[in-house]
């Protein structure tokens, strides 16, 4: 993989230092030059300005980070770097509806800076001085006043991984437990240009394990209590501001104050609700307290499709899908496929090849009706997960997509699985562009290829949802990232692509 950086020199040195600190090895001889122009034109491209539309052999021009023009008969400015995007496909940059991109997953037994890690329940060698029944908010995972910006690392590998898939903007939420902090909208280039801070009130049913609230029952209770206390405190503060004489002073708790925009319905709660039961629980809280909500990271939500539609609650589905079990057939399939399977490696180690032969037919001959039935049920259930997006589409529910639990390696394949199981490509594209833009209040600046919007684009070799589609360029805020094709054969694996920045 290789990308050309459009960086100003100062920023480059900052990034280089950071790389150094984290002990990662950057490309040894990467030459970075200052940009010659900030105007780029893509010509002869199949442009999909918004889901369902197509401009063949069109032109897109980006200037100073914004889309200057799009269409068939667009005049290419004289100062533009022109890219011949012949036969390529150009989409509006994808928006990750909810994401942990840029927030390193906490490592075991390591402090790993950032409250992504801190908000996790304390390590096994828990500090003895903490009263587990009444821990400080930080240990309890209750940090709604904190902003995710403080922990995002734009040089984290996850940023580059997601960008390479076409994600140009993300609604990033912190890792942690019940209330890990507020989410932000971030553009996925190196500069970490926040489009909007404190964009969401991120909530989870996740208890902290060993500290109160440790279980879902305590989280539900604590949520209700904090919410009502915040309502009280807000009233108290208002009363005190008006008429302080003779009145007890308010506490001005930052934790409770973080709820005020939610109470005022100026901020939306993004509630992590993966499975069918969690969604019921979240609905209960929402009904009791009345906040505006987005149901986020939904994996098993088809039971709720009708209720979601009736209530008009926006949804973000997970891009994480269940995986096929690791059975022998599976391992064999892998063995014959791209990745060398574990089975083959093991077989090679076996001193007695005959043993292996003996085992094989036994597995296959075993014609167990019980196992067949169970396998049929499993497949049926699997199908429900894969078909969820299609079901939502067929019911007319718009949704965004979240990468919070998804492995970037599986995302393209998972999108294809959703499409194979009923989701239309048009809706899939909307879920990556226009719908999250609308949900996050970003329709003016993101989601489509329109004049005046932010210069976020994805350029692919084939239609994006084609199995063989390759991302060729990604533009974020006008900054270009170029991707060469992956080396085809493992023989080439050692080769590091080289090349200077052109521009």
């Amino acid at each position: 993989m290789k990308y050309h950086l459009l960086l100003i020199a100062m920023l480059f040195s900052a990034v280089a230092t950071t790389f150094g600190q984290f002990g990662q090895t950057p490309a040894p001889a990467e030459i970075v030059t200052s940009p010659v122009t900030r105007t780029i034109a893509l010509k002869n491209a199949n442009i999909i300005p918004s889901p369902g539309q197509m401009i063949e052999k069109g032109i897109v021009v980006i200037k100073d980070g914004l889309i200057l023009a799009v269409g068939k008969d667009v005049k290419i400015p004289i100062d533009a770097k022109v890219i011949d995007a012949d036969s390529m496909y150009v989409y509006a940059g994808f928006i990750d509806g909810m994401s942990h991109v840029g927030i390193p997953a906490p490592q075991n037994n390591q402090g790993q800076g950032g409250f992504g890690a801190q908000a996790q329940r304390p390590q096994t060698q828990a500090q003895p001085q903490i009263d587990r029944g009444n821990p400080p908010n930080e240990a309890a995972g209750i940090l709604p006043e904190r902003s995710v910006e403080t922990v995002i690392k734009m040089d984290d590998k996850s940023v580059a991984d997601m960008r390479k898939l076409g994600f140009t903007a993300a609604h990033i939420v912190p890792r942690g437990n019940m209330l890990p902090g507020k989410g932000a909208i971030v553009l996925l280039n190196e500069k970490s240009p926040y489009l909007r801070k404190d964009a969401s009130f991120f909530s989870q049913l996740q208890g902290s394990g060993r500290m109160y609230p440790s279980t879902v029952i305590a989280v539900m209770s604590k949520y209700r209590e904090l919410y009502k206390q915040a309502e009280q405190a807000k009233t108290h503060e208002a009363m005190f501001a008006k008429n302080p004489k003779g009145m007890e002073r308010p506490n001005y708790s930052p934790t409770l104050q973080a709820f005020y925009p939610v109470i005022d319905k100026k901020q939306t709660v993004f509630f992590n609700a993966e499975d069918v039961l969690s969604i019921y629980r979240v609905f209960t809280l929402q009904k009791d307290l009345g906040f505006s909500m987005v149901l986020a990271n939904v994996k098993q939500g088809w039971e709720h499709a009708d209720a979601i539609k009736t209530k008009g609650i926006p949804v973000i589905l997970s891009l994480d899908l269940p995986e096929e079990p690791k059975t022998s057939e599976n391992a064999q399939a892998n063995a014959s496929g791209r990745t060398p399977g574990r089975l083959v490696a093991d077989r090679n180690e076996q001193p007695n090849a005959e043993d292996a032969k003996k085992e094989e037919p036994k597995e296959k001959v075993a014609n167990d009706p019980e196992k067949e039935k169970l396998e049929a049920r499993r497949k049926e259930e699997m199908k429900k997960y894969l078909a969820q997006a299609g079901v939502f589409e067929s019911k007319g529910i718009e949704f965004g997509l979240a990468t919070t639990d998804a492995d970037s390696k599986n995302i393209h394949a998972n999108l294809r699985k959703m499409i194979e199981n009923g989701l239309t490509e048009k809706a899939a594209l909307a879920a990556l562009t226009t719908t999250p833009a609308k949900m996050l209040g970003l329709s003016d600046v993101l989601g489509t290829i329109e004049q005046g919007k932010i210069g976020n684009l994805v350029v692919t070799s084939k239609p994006y949802f084609d199995e063989k589609a390759k991302v060729k360029y990604v533009f974020v805020d006008g900054q270009m990232f170029e991707y060469e094709d992956e080396p085809a054969a493992p023989a080439n694996r050692g080769r590091r692509p080289t090349g200077g920045g052109t521009n």
Binding site: K326, S328, D346, E359, L374
Partner: protein, 433 residues
């Protein structure tokens, strides 16, 4: 007059105290007993009406033509039934006093390979659970150590006596927890089926090494050679030679199949499968291998969420119907007394009633090689039996008389004593009245 009344009262009180004490401290007694007018369920020789005579600790006569010697204690059993004492094929009785207090527990020694640990050594003859168990008709139990791969040697005991030797009922067996590799139910256990199989093979290989050593130990001894002090191999070699029974604990279907293969590969002479919770899945194979089974508890949950709700209840019956020789166990400690109910549940969910009765009497005795003395009512066998008001599997049936090894055992236990003391508590609600 007042004075006399006082004396009279004192005497009455004294007598009643003595009587009460006599009740609390019941002692077993020996002698000649004639249980008359009974329905005698012999198990092996049908059901007969008449008298059962107990003399010198043995059954001296059964039927209508029994000569009751003069001086015999006659116990009228009209409308009642006599059964051989029930045998529980797997318990912790005598090895575990209080569940959560580890210093009262003597069933799990440190180490995975401790075949030399003798359950019989640690049996507490005065464990409070022993009387609680026997008064419900369970007279004989296998008591076994647990934990690790070879937790030790189990022993069959009769539930009467004040030393382990008085209790010993003539069978010892080596316990092997057969390797069962399975995925951890929670967390990300990403091992493939193949990985699991590999691990299992590794464990079986280890087992084979132990077996080879046991064989070597036996051979050196047989050839008159001198071995190192090796108490573990002393026990293992006895099993390898076929002098001792291997009690092989195995429950999961795949593991049962592996165990059958291993037993056949190693040509184990005396072996019993215990547990066998998923025996119903591979019942034909167990039957074909002709390996007897001690299974239970019957009143248990299915082993998998997808299993029919009654699979554990039905397991014993399904194996029995497939031709497996099945005995039952509770695998319990303080509630071994529920063995008859386990048999009742097996019947309710498909086991032949006759087979279920045998599964807690003669089949167990056969498996343990003690069928010459225990497991049925036959002349010459040990007088280990009870009298009941009805079908002993039926919950409301009561045991009215109990004989173990010829001893007439009083029907008392902590549970009955607390009942006597507290049914009508004195003082009651008001201290003065």
């Amino acid at each position: 007059m007042k004075h006399i009344a006082k004396i009279f009262l004192t005497i009455c009180l004294l007598i009643s105290t003595l009587l009460a004490n006599a009740q609390v401290v019941g002692k077993s007694s020996r002698g000649t007993f004639a249980l008359t007018n009974a329905t005698i369920v012999t198990v092996t020789k049908g059901t007969v009406q008449g008298t059962l005579l107990i003399q010198d600790g043995k059954i001296a006569g059964i039927g209508t033509n029994v000569n009751v010697p003069a001086g015999a204690t006659r116990i009228d059993c009209s409308g009642k039934f006599i059964y051989p004492g029930f045998i529980d094929g797997g318990t912790q009785l005598g090895l575990n006093e209080v569940g959560s207090v580890s210093l009262t527990q003597d069933f799990n020694e440190i180490g995975d390979f401790t075949p030399q640990m003798q359950a019989l050594t640690a049996v507490n003859p005065n464990a409070s659970a022993i009387p609680v168990t026997r008064v419900e008709g369970v007279t004989t139990v296998l008591t076994q150590p647990s934990g690790g791969v070879f937790p030790g040697t189990a022993a069959l005991i009769n539930l009467v006596g004040y030393t382990p030797d008085q209790m010993y009922a003539g069978f010892k067996g080596l316990i092997l927890n057969f390797p069962e590799v399975r995925r951890r139910p929670f967390g990300n256990d990403t091992r493939t089926d193949e990985d699991l199989k590999k691990e299992e093979e590794k464990l079986i290989k280890q087992l084979n090494e132990i077996w080879d050593q046991g064989a070597l130990y036996a051979k050196i001894k047989a050839d008159g050679g001198q071995t190192e002090y090796n108490p573990e191999m002393e026990v293992v070699s006895a099993v390898v030679k076929g002098d001792m029974t291997l009690l092989l604990e195995v429950n999961r279907n795949n593991a049962i199949e592996s165990a059958i293969k291993w037993v056949q590969d190693r040509k184990i002479k005396k072996v019993v499968f215990t547990g066998v919770a998923e025996g119903w899945r591979v019942a034909d194979k167990i039957a074909a291998a002709n390996i007897p089974v001690i299974t239970g508890p019957v009143i248990a949950l299915p082993t998998r969420e997808s299993d029919r709700y009654d699979k554990a209840y039905a397991n014993a019956g399904l194996m029995q119907k497939a031709g497996v020789k099945v005995a039952l166990r509770t695998n319990d400690n303080e509630n071994v007394r529920n063995l008859p109910f386990n048999a009742g549940y097996a019947v309710a969910y498909g086991m032949d009633k006759d087979a279920a009765l045998k599964a807690v009497t003669i089949t167990s005795a056969e498996i343990f090689g003690v069928d010459k003395t225990l497991g049925s009512l036959e002349v010459g066998k040990s007088a280990t039996l009870f009298v009941s008001t009805g079908d002993p599997f039926e919950t409301k049936t009561k045991i009215t008389n109990l004989f173990i090894d010829g001893w007439n055992v009083p029907l008392e236990s902590r549970h009955t004593q607390l009942y006597e003391e507290f049914l009508d508590r004195k003082p009651g609600l008001n201290k003065g009245k």
